[in-house]
Amino acid sequence: MTAFLAKLIRLPASPRPPAAHLLQALELVRFLARARVATWTRNRLLGLWWWLLEPLALAAVYSLVVRFAFRGTYDNYPLFVLCAVIPWAWFAAATSAAGGALRGSARLLHSASVSHLLLPTAEVLAHTYRFVAGLCVLTAVAAWYGFGPSWSFAALPLVVGVQLLLTVGIGFLLALANTVVADTAHIWSVITRIWFFATPSLYSLDAVPAEMRWLLVWNPFTTLFAAYRTIFLHGSCPDLLGLLGVALVATLVLVSGALLLRQQEGRLALYV
């Protein structure tokens, strides 16, 4: 397994065992993610505080909008919406950053033989750090609404892990597509917008006409948002079977993305 992974990410030839290669790749990814975080925080007045302020601002906006505009749509509507908006913000930002990872490091691609899988992964990791801060805000807001942490939080790493798999996989495919067709970034921003509204994010699955519902079941984020809501709003265990299905799809996307990217290594530099 480690040998396969080490071969997949193609580290420089050396007499080291595969496990050491993987460790080295992991260190590089973590360092690159830290470098990305540094770009967000250095020379900023509030630096890391933005990671808390941004989701808090979102929470405030939705609370106000609900109070004045959609009064009485759902119970605890702001919390209901935040359970979708915060994970979605992570997904959208991380995939678009991962998509630009290779094109943005053109100089690196032209000058060093670095596994192309590591750059998008690092971007996703940096956004994951940020998402963890968002989850803390979500927990605090839930407590404010009277939904304190419960044992269901034990399922949270599973849900986050499944979403992470999907994000990295799509990040790989986007990074590859973006290298060949520079318009990918624009296309993806349109797709994410449509995808968000085509997912039960601001509304619940029950609000969708019954004849359309089967379509939404195929959307991985229907399951993921429902899982976040089950954990934060209902304090119970999310639909594990549904999550398993999403995890399988995510793994498929991840492996195919990694193989495709790996196959094109050494050629992509000529495109950027």
Partner: protein
Amino acid sequence: MIDLNDVSLRYRASRSVPFSELVTRMTLLWRPGRRRAPQVHWALRNVSLRVSAGECLGVIGVNGAGKSTLLRVMARVYRPTRGTVHSFGRVTPLLNLQFGLRPELTGLENMQLLGLLQGHTRREVDALLPAAQDFAGLGSQIHDPIATYSTGMLARLSFSISTAIAPDVLLLDEVMAVGDGAFKQKSKNRIRALMDQARTVVLCSHDLALLQKLCDRVAWVHGGTLRMEGPPEETLAAYRAFLQRDGSPAPCRLRHDAADDAPIVRRASRSRRRLSAALEPSVSASG
């Protein structure tokens, strides 16, 4: 050791279709038969070259001849379109002074990053840092973001960390040309030291006197092919004569008829053909 066997590399210019052409294609205005077969650019063409352990190979050639591409193929940064590349041992390419550097990180952090990018583990990098820092001689400025650095300082930074561990093969592209006199001397000495440790060096430069002094062998790349290869004196003399005879070397990419590259031909866009037409005079003048 590096072994290039009959290596060719086709440069892919952007294959994207301009919007205007997309519209034309979708309407009846487009007729398939009207297209003229464009020509294809090869950055390298049938290059076979062997660099043995402990050897210092110099690479010369006019701008656009394919020197950098050759080094990148050796470093496995580019995968050749045809032919094979074999390399043994740790290859450290130093092809671009600012590769992988992040302007918002400090000099020290960038050294760590470069070390990691070159395949060292964190522990190895941390062990290398003091010596590399010392060699770079940047003083307390090593803790400043490199956005404030000059080109010479960046060169010092990259060179110091990249050569901190003697790699089995060191590939240098034009790096020697920057830096002040003192650092230039220091880096020359280090390259000498690397060569003394039976490490292989491939050095690409326009500084012919430097190549004469350092190299065991010089390869002259012209139009993507290996024009000459041999002892420094002979190759450099032939190259000097060529430069004098051919005063202003125009970009000299080889152009080939597209007969053997049919799939690419069909996809090539009109703007590309316009570019080819514009390049035509200079190409025919040089070749």
